[in-house]
Symmetry: D2
Subunit: 339 residues, 4 copies
């Protein structure tokens, strides 16, 4: 495969995210094509494959990865299925874009990391797509130029109009706050060393058994203090905001103030209702960046280490939820491959 060839991608999992990535690779991303789709639901996989020229349906990820014309793998199956698919892809030495989480816990993430270390080169990119959002990229760039001085605090707001049915307190950390875990590590370039979860009184709109909102505090090895308001039944929309407080100034993103109206005694605008509306462009850029890097023979973006570190922080967060108080985060030593 050379820079100029079109990248044949096998998409593992054709649920909501997987189907969306198929649509993206087929109709939005330049330089790639969907060569294979994999789902345990054979009919679903075939229906998708049939609509795309040169695309074959599989139920077995391994068979798809072995197929001719498959140059790379995009994993969008449920989290518990990631480890097996990742290990197989590493056996085939194929580049992978793996939707978050890398794996559901730190131990399994370590096993994947071991396999990649044994292979000796980076093959895996984890789908923390906020790193590809225009506003986050601007914020990262501003922090990088040093104009504001060192970052001291990071305030985050993460609000969903309503959580899916059955969403638990653990989901609130593992599926929602995990984005702030990665954003914190990436923006600040620091590891998270402790997590504390606090709970105000719960909204009457929170389903029985879920405390919502919650307030999460991270400490980092660079001495920064990070707070996250996570409120998954806020009712009014989907809103992700971040403000970094530095020694000489602050910077804030996520206002979403594109169009301003005056109507009926009020000025203002609309709030996005879900993440596809807010982050659609970030997904497009993420997949395009992965395709471009892969065609150049490179691996960029969030690494297996990032996936592992996020899993370890989330484990600590869930423990703070259940046991109360501050929970320290323990990480293995960072391998040179992810230096």
């Amino acid at each position: 495969m050379t820079q100029r060839g079109t990248l044949g991608v096998a998409v593992i999992g054709t649920g909501k995210m997987g189907a969306d990535h198929v649509r993206r690779l087929h109709g939005v991303t330049g330089g790639a094509r969907v060569a294979a789709v994999v789902d345990i639901d054979e009919a679903r996989a075939e229906k998708i494959a049939n609509a795309i020229e040169g695309c074959t349906a599989y139920t077995d990820p391994s068979a798809a990865m072995a197929a001719d014309g498959v140059d790379a793998v995009l994993i969008a199956s449920p989290g518990p299925a990631h480890e097996a698919a990742l290990l197989t892809a590493l056996e085939y030495d194929l580049p992978v874009l793996c939707e978050k989480p890398l794996t559901p816990d730190a131990a399994s993430a370590l096993r994947v990391m071991d396999a990649e270390l044994k292979l000796g080169r980076r093959r895996i990119q984890v789908g923390f797509m906020r790193r590809y959002d225009t506003e986050y990229v601007k914020l990262k760039s501003l922090l990088g130029n040093g104009y504001l001085g060192r970052p001291l605090m990071l305030h985050n707001r993460h609000r969903n109009a309503a959580a899916p049915t059955g969403f638990t307190s653990a989901n609130l950390i593992n599926d929602s706050v995990v984005h702030e875990v990665d954003a914190t590590r990436w923006l600040l370039g620091q590891e998270i060393t402790a997590v504390t979860v606090l709970r105000p009184t719960s909204s009457e709109n929170a389903p029985e058994g879920l405390d919502d909102p919650q307030f999460v505090i991270f400490e980092t090895d660079g001495g920064a203090l990070v707070d996250v308001e996570i409120f998954v039944n806020c009712g009014f929309g989907y809103q992700v905001q971040a403000e970094v407080v530095c020694e000489r100034g602050t910077a804030r993103i996520g206002e979403g103030h594109a169009m301003v109206t005056n109507m009926a005694g009020r000025w203002g605008g609309t709030i996005a209702q879900d993440f596809t509306e807010r982050f659609e462009d970030a997904y497009d850029r993420e997949v395009q960046a992965w395709v471009d890097a892969t065609r150049r023979g490179e691996v960029t973006g969030p690494s297996t280490w990032d996936g592992y570190a996020a899993a370890a922080v989330c484990e600590a967060g869930v423990r703070s939820q259940t046991e109360g108080g501050r929970v320290a985060v323990q990480l293995v030593e960072r391998p040179a491959l992810y230096g």
Copy 2:
């Protein structure tokens, strides 16, 4: 003194705040006049008195309060002098506007409260002037109409360009965060039950011995969670912001976005450089409201109870700073007079 008479005010203390209140009562406030000024620096008091028709200078607060034509007292002396002046004013049964803090600690605040309870009627208003700021008033009003549902969280930012020389960690609670203490109690209508102070790495602009910024967390008896970023050497200006997160929405004040410019590759505006610029109107409204209520024979605004509660919360905050961890706030039972 009837509704229609002009209120003769004795101003105790003619330092920065006291002199400003003299200017305000003399030239800005309707319905009042400065009848007496008091300062241990006799020359300073006389210089001010001489410039105002019908104003006499004193060095002894008690003499000023006994003077003919003095209908009310404004205390703007240093905090440690407040208790004596307040007790004297209560003896003379005079209405008082007392600059914050009521007194420097909870024990002395309780003594003042006891004296007012013995008198049997409210005489004292404490100078928490944020309650008179247009934006805070709007926020309070919005919370009151119930449209947003119950408040669950309150995020505060309190930033000064630079702290005065000698400003300590205790000042940071007692002189800065004390405003958020009162704003929290007033906006939410709840008492603060515990305080936790966290410290990120300190800015290189913080003077030796002062950890700055700090991050303060309040818990309330209504189950709300309140956080305060206090950063008194932020460098860029004076900025006070608050966002209340409720069950059905949020509301934020303090952006200060009156004038927007486009210049040299940037859009935006200026940030106030100190509290007199940001809160000048609030001071004007506070004093006018006090004069108006006093002329009607009423006492409104923050009470001795509010001054005491703030002192108790600040004591807990300073203990959290020095001892670490969460410190519970203990309040005496609330007397019916302040119900």
Copy 3:
């Protein structure tokens, strides 16, 4: 009358604006008192006078101005009554704050100007209160410091929720756009030399006989181009905005973005519903500034010349409405007194 005496004011006219100024002078403004009120409706005047210590009711402006204890005059009667009241005040050599318009047309304004010129000193301040609005003051100050370079264009929006019954196209110029006439002259420091009024299709909410909105263009003797959207039945609120476009940048005021809420899929805030809400502080500052200057023995603020120039521009605007096209503005030579 010295700097330190209280200013005794006679208020002529006790309709909506007059009564509001009585309230302001009595209870908000420092250094002044209402010494007399005048209205052709004797009962109304007496009712107001009786509620204020030391205030006498009159039906004849001249009698009030001659009364003991009257140091200054505030004229808030209907426009057609202004000329007579102003000429009487000049005879008594009393300082005057005259609500806009100075007089209803340029010819009568010239007669008042002649009388003041004969007296030989400024006595009259015209009530163009936007000059006292905090945001306009900031804009003026920014233009004055030269940082943005010369002003080239000024875009204005002037929107009312709904016009009063019977509001005509001429009112739209004389009562609404007149504020932009003065704001233009004051902000730019230039005279208006021509007016063109354009008319888009009218809103279905415009009453029969009124074209609304209209679009007004001023040319100035400094070569600036000024446009005014005037829309007095916009439905959504009262909104006054201005953007000056200069050689090196622009500056905009009037967004009114004090409190931002998130609710029900929308972010934003409320729009003021009328001018008392938007400009209450400006009125307070205007009257306070007039009282302060008068006590110092000075006359500041918009002059008789400003009242005359506004009348001349409005006359040209009404002609452009009725005859179409561009109408040049003719001004007499500016007397040195107003230099």
Copy 4:
């Protein structure tokens, strides 16, 4: 060519815009490939072709269009070369995306329209890419839902940091304001019937011979009044804003307030410095939409009629600049094909 085949595109012209479109089609757009590039500079065309698998270089547009594997044409050559290329593409019955302007004047645009009418089906899409900008799309959508009522006025700001050397008053209409011409027609769904160009005093930063800024007024056949501030040497950045004023409210786009910083006494953010920064996403969407429609066998987007109407309005604008006053726009009757 079916929905599922990859679209082979011949790109005519490989200057700044052409080279950018080659990059886009090759690496960003899904479902398309660059099959041919054409430039009179043979070396330049070959250099580009050599870097892309399956791409051939030509100097003759006709030869490229006749080549095997060329399914569609993107014209990015200078305006005067458009007519010939368009007529050739119509002869080959190929779908075309033609960068604006369609042709440099109304007469040549009419000749292209005649050829397309003779062919009997739409083949040409004109590159008015603002129709693909997220904010303009939101504004169009809001106007379409009728919630704001009929549009009455449209205020536009179009500012460039600095114009290219040699930019003339005619360029200012034909190359800059032409975007507002199309945006007006598209947003309002109305034809422009008259143009008036006004000139304030010129900025000292305007090059000799160019009056800058200028103020352009459109009237439409629906009675709307449209104003455009065009300021191509504003110095501070690239800024495109629009506010539609309707019967029940207004809507404004173009603030560009993604990231807000606090620094050194100022809040605010950065302004884009050129159109590639501001409208890069719009170009991506435009080309993707063209590729998608073409693969479905459809032609969408701005038509030859839109290109012709814009040319006619611009001709009137340039006449108003040179002759002064209001110039009526004359259009031929709209053919049913563009109904």
